[in-house]
């Protein structure tokens, strides 16, 4: 008789791949899913209290709904000794007593008692907290957006809490604790049994105003969206108003103040010589129109590193004039606004032989260097710029960003993937979603961002040299739910000819440059001469060599024949994350994968069986350093021959 423990799930206290593998050997585990929902609190302002005995005070509030064990945070302007968190020692329906420890004098206090609903799909303790069976969980998903279509999809979770017994009525309209539900936090965690240390948060968000909270005769229904809704905000956000600029022209009022990063002194429009627009902010002033008052011009909302006073250019009726630098004055310390002298305010610049006076419709351009990022990395660094956009224009903090940001910021080899050396610049004037813009920046250097299993925003790359070898996690037939392995061709991302369009200039609002067309002739030949061409846009890149490098690398990827595989896997895959690679060793009917690498693009946690719903990107036909498929018909990959069309 063997004495091995075949029920490890009852004894294991850590949840790592080893323990999952051990439990999988016996095909059984015990994983729990729990949810914590912040309910509307008990909240009273200036609630009178009396002294029962030293350190014991009593509040009277009809139908307060609190119980022994609840904690009340009190603050009192009349009796500071009341301040702090105190536990309820006893209560009646209409009164409750707090053990204050101190000796307050009778008075009034603001009282706040936070209430959290602890629920699960089973009655379960996790650590020292009991979660009551009140709901069936939906599948919780995290997604990396489509490659070359940068969007971050947010997880939305619909929760229906059982209220058949009316126990949650106090939180509903007419109830004692009814209050606003919007923005109340929701956390879903998954882990082993009752072992609190094994539980990780698979969803952290808040109740939205879309869908919000509703009720049926037997439930409270709510919709929550994950915390990264915080990056689903638009920037720039500051507008040009008549309050700040009383002499603004009607056509400019309400425009957004631009956000500028990077070096805008080079690779600019050949005709104008400068590309950053300068917005007149007192163009309706009578003195300005008479040429007696200096014209105020605004560059950006943010402070800039430098401003070239010799570059200010007027565009009037398709004619370009350069201002004398002596007319550029009052440049702000932030380098984001300045004045222009006119004919009767000391200006010397001649326009068509006449000293300059502002006319409505005049356009101004200049050269400058955008926001000073002040870090160890270059102000041109695309990851640094993306990071600053997120931290400046959303409510995320540095703690929300994974360490991979620092890694990729500093990546310096090989040349085609040397982020530290690739130059980027940003000019945004129209409202743009922060996350959409950042993902677009990353796409240009073959980076992607997603929410990792620690719910941090993490960067992963499509750089061949970053692909793992060997791949530590192998997926076998017995990891896959029956009939839930479904490959299909990734039509969208298969092409064999590409051309880069780059250097978007704000003055013209067009990509100013193009690369040659590049092709993978082997792929074209394999498809009997059929070319599938794709234009790839690099609006933030402006150095030709950088763009050519990226275009070629993207073509090596896209011409290799991708497949997308939708697969449902057992809980042995629980610790995998988006961006991770698995080695597919699967033979199910006509689908045969033998050691084929696949990248996880989407993860869903299905409560039924605690299984993982994955979307994989198969690289079966994509050689990369360390992986040589050895199949016939390999035409793409890191060593594919890409040629310039002539």
């Amino acid at each position: 008789m063997s004495n091995s423990d075949r029920k490890q799930y009852l004894n294991i206290t850590t949840l790592d791949q080893d323990s999952l593998d051990q439990m999988h050997d016996n095909l059984v585990t015990k994983l729990g899913l729990v949810i914590e929902i912040e309910a509307p609190p008990f909240e009273e302002v200036a609630l009178p209290f009396t002294i029962i005995s030293p350190g014991l005070v009593q509040f009277t509030k009809v139908g307060h709904g609190l119980e022994t064990g609840n904690t009340v945070t009190a603050s009192s302007s009349t009796s500071p000794a009341m301040d702090g968190d105190h536990s309820i020692t006893s209560f009646t329906d209409d009164t409750f007593q707090l053990n204050t420890g101190g000796t307050p004098a009778a008075g009034t206090a603001d009282c706040l008692s936070l209430i959290t609903i602890y629920a699960s799909d089973e009655n379960i303790y996790v650590g020292d907290t009991f979660y009551k069976a009140l709901l069936n969980f939906p599948t919780v998903k995290r997604i990396m957006g489509e490659w070359l279509s940068p969007t971050l999809e947010f997880s939305t979770v619909s929760i229906s809490l059982s209220n058949v017994d009316g126990s949650l009525n106090k939180f509903l309209p007419g109830g004692i604790n009814y209050g606003g539900w919007f923005q109340r936090s929701v956390k879903i965690r998954m882990g082993l049994r009752d072992v609190a240390s094994t539980y990780t948060t698979i969803f952290s968000g808040s109740i939205t105003d879309i869908g919000g909270v509703g009720r049926t005769i037997k439930s409270i229904d709510m919709v929550a969206r994950d915390d990264f809704d915080k990056v689903n905000v638009s920037f720039p956000s500051n507008t040009i108003t008549t309050t700040a600029y009383p002499d603004i022209e009607d056509s400019i009022e309400g425009e957004l103040k631009p956000v500028i990063y990077g070096d805008w002194t080079t690779n600019l429009d050949e005709k104008t010589g400068a590309s950053i627009p300068c917005l007149p902010t007192n163009g309706a002033n009578a003195g300005v129109l008479a040429g007696t008052t200096n014209l105020d011009l605004l560059l950006s909302d943010n402070a800039n590193k430098s401003f070239d006073i010799a570059s200010v250019t007027l565009v009037r009726s398709d004619t370009v004039f350069l201002f004398n630098s002596a007319d550029v004055t009052s440049v702000s310390a932030n380098n984001n606004d300045f004045q222009l002298k006119q004919e009767f305010s000391g200006g010397v610049t001649l326009i068509d032989g006449v000293k300059y006076i502002y006319k409505s419709g005049d356009k101004f351009l200049c050269k400058m260097v955008g926001k000073d990022l002040g870090g160890v990395f270059d102000d041109d660094n695309i990851v640094s710029q993306a990071e600053d956009i997120i931290l400046t224009h959303s409510s995320l903090t540095g703690a929300d960003l994974d360490a991979s940001w620092a890694t990729y910021k500093a990546k310096s080899a090989p040349a085609q993937s040397a982020i530290a050396g690739i130059k980027s610049r940003v000019y945004v004037k129209e409202p743009t979603k922060v996350i959409t813009y950042v993902l677009s920046m990353f796409e240009q250097v073959r980076l992607e961002a997603f929410l990792d299993r620690n719910l941090k925003l993490k960067i992963t790359s499509l750089h061949f040299e970053d692909f793992p070898d060997p791949i530590p996690f192998a997926v076998e037939n017995w990891d896959i739910e029956d009939k839930q392995f479904k490959p299909k061709v990734d039509v969208r991302n298969n092409f064999n000819v590409a051309q880069g369009l780059f250097n978007l200039l704000p003055g013209t609002e067009e990509n100013n440059n193009k690369t040659p067309r590049y092709r993978n002739q082997a792929t074209i030949d394999q498809n009997k001469g059929k070319t599938i061409a794709q234009g790839i846009v690099f609006p933030n890149l402006y150095v030709r060599a950088d763009v050519i490098n990226q275009t070629i690398e993207i073509l090596r990827l896209a011409s290799s024949y991708f497949e997308i595989i939708n697969s449902t896997q057992t809980w042995r895959s629980l610790l995998l994350d988006i961006g991770d690679f698995v080695s597919l060793n699967v033979e199910i009917g006509a689908t045969v994968f033998s050691g084929a690498p696949a990248m996880i693009r989407q993860i869903g946690y299905s409560p039924k069986g605690r299984k993982l719903v994955l979307k994989l990107w198969s690289f079966q036909m994509l050689p990369y350093p360390g992986y040589n498929p050895g199949h016939d018909g390999i035409v793409g990959g890191y060593n594919a021959t890409i040629t310039e069309e002539v």
């Binding site: 022994t68 020292d128 009991f130 009939k483 699967v586």
Partner: protein, 349 residues
């Protein structure tokens, strides 16, 4: 809705059909006692409740500890009404806050409160303070001034076989005087339940009840999932047939894989009990008692079912009816009606 206790009937002398005591005494009370027939042992006991000048008033109960008993109402959970002031522990009456523990484990979310012994969720626990294994008391104020008697007690816990559990009843909340004192012993080796079935009909009622627990060798902190006690509805003479079906269901989430295996997530085992009743006499007390349970507990309330009180743990189940049974009546005449039905009690509902 409380259980309805029906009187047996009122007759006036000289219409008593069966001589008992003296006709004058029975008739003066306006009641008739029917305790058995022929040579069958009946085990009837009478409890004297109150005396009046006009005669005696009796609470009549047939008691045995051999037949099916069902505990449907739990006075151990306190009074049914709110707004009656505070109980002995300073908590509002009628809120299920009628227990007081000498020790409770710390929890930032108050998850081990002693009130948890009052829930039907057996997984929701009271837990003793870390390392406290002896000298533990759990005091219950039934919040009923007249008190209650206990003929059936059940507790689910993690006590070891060497635990000692003492159940004490008292009329005072500090238990300075003891009117009921029973050593319940350990849990046995195969399950986690302590059951107490009174040998005789308990005649005394107490408002306050205390559990004294010592389990020095238990490697885990002491936990109790549920405690219920009170007076059961007891079958007499008739009972279920001897084919008892007991089912254990392993609740699992299963993932059949492409590798010809099934991977599972184990969520626990629960019991289900099927009892078959044949030819219950429509005119005897058992059938109306069962109807009473169907009406009261329906399929929504858990009850404690003890089919074999002499060896109670074998078939005991704390669960709900899966459905109200279909009755098949063998009707021969108005007073000749015998009822068949099967019932199923599921502790996973």
């Amino acid at each position: 809705m409380a259980l309805v206790y029906k009187t047996l009937g009122y007759l006036q002398f000289p219409y008593l059909s069966i001589p008992y005591g003296t006709g004058g005494q029975a008739a003066a009370q306006g009641c008739q006692f029917f305790v058995g027939r022929g040579d069958l042992p009946v085990g009837a006991q009478f409890e004297l409740l109150q005396g009046f000048g006009v005669g005696a008033q009796f609470n009549v109960r047939l008691y045995n500890n051999t037949n099916l008993r069902i505990l449907c109402e739990f006075p151990s959970r306190g009074a049914a009404v709110t707004g009656g002031g505070n109980n002995a522990w300073g908590n509002p009456m009628g809120r299920g806050l009628n227990w007081n523990a000498s020790t409770t484990a710390a929890s930032g979310t108050n998850s081990f409160d002693v009130k948890n012994v009052n829930t039907d969720i057996v997984e929701q626990l009271w837990r003793a303070g870390a390392g406290v294994k002896t000298g533990i008391t759990l005091d219950c104020d039934t919040e009923l001034a007249q008190g209650i008697s206990v003929d059936t007690f059940m507790m689910k816990s993690n006590l070891s076989t060497s635990a000692t559990v003492r159940l004490i009843g008292s009329t005072v909340s500090n238990f300075s005087s003891v009117g009921f004192d029973e050593q319940l012993g350990g849990t046995g080796s195969n399950d986690d339940e302590i059951l107490y079935i009174a040998e005789d009909l308990p005649l005394d009622k107490f408002r306050y009840w205390r559990l004294e627990i010592a389990d020095a060798t238990n490697p885990e902190d002491i936990e109790i999932g549920v405690i219920v006690f009170g007076e059961s509805i007891i079958f007499h003479q008739e009972c279920f047939v001897d084919q008892v079906k007991l089912t254990k269901t392993n609740f699992v989430d299963s993932i059949p894989t492409a590798g010809f295996t099934t991977v599972q997530n184990d969520r626990g085992i629960k019991k289900k009990l099927n009892l078959e009743f044949k030819s219950l006499d429509y005119n005897k007390a058992n059938y109306p008692a069962m109807l009473n349970i169907f009406d009261f507990a329906r399929t929504v309330l858990k009850c404690l079912w003890v089919p074999t009180p002499e060896y109670p743990k074998r078939f005991m189940i704390f669960g709900k009816l899966t459905k109200i049974p279909q009755e098949t009546h063998n009707v021969k005449a108005r007073d000749i009606d015998y009822v068949n039905f099967n019932l199923e009690v599921d502790e996973a509902r």
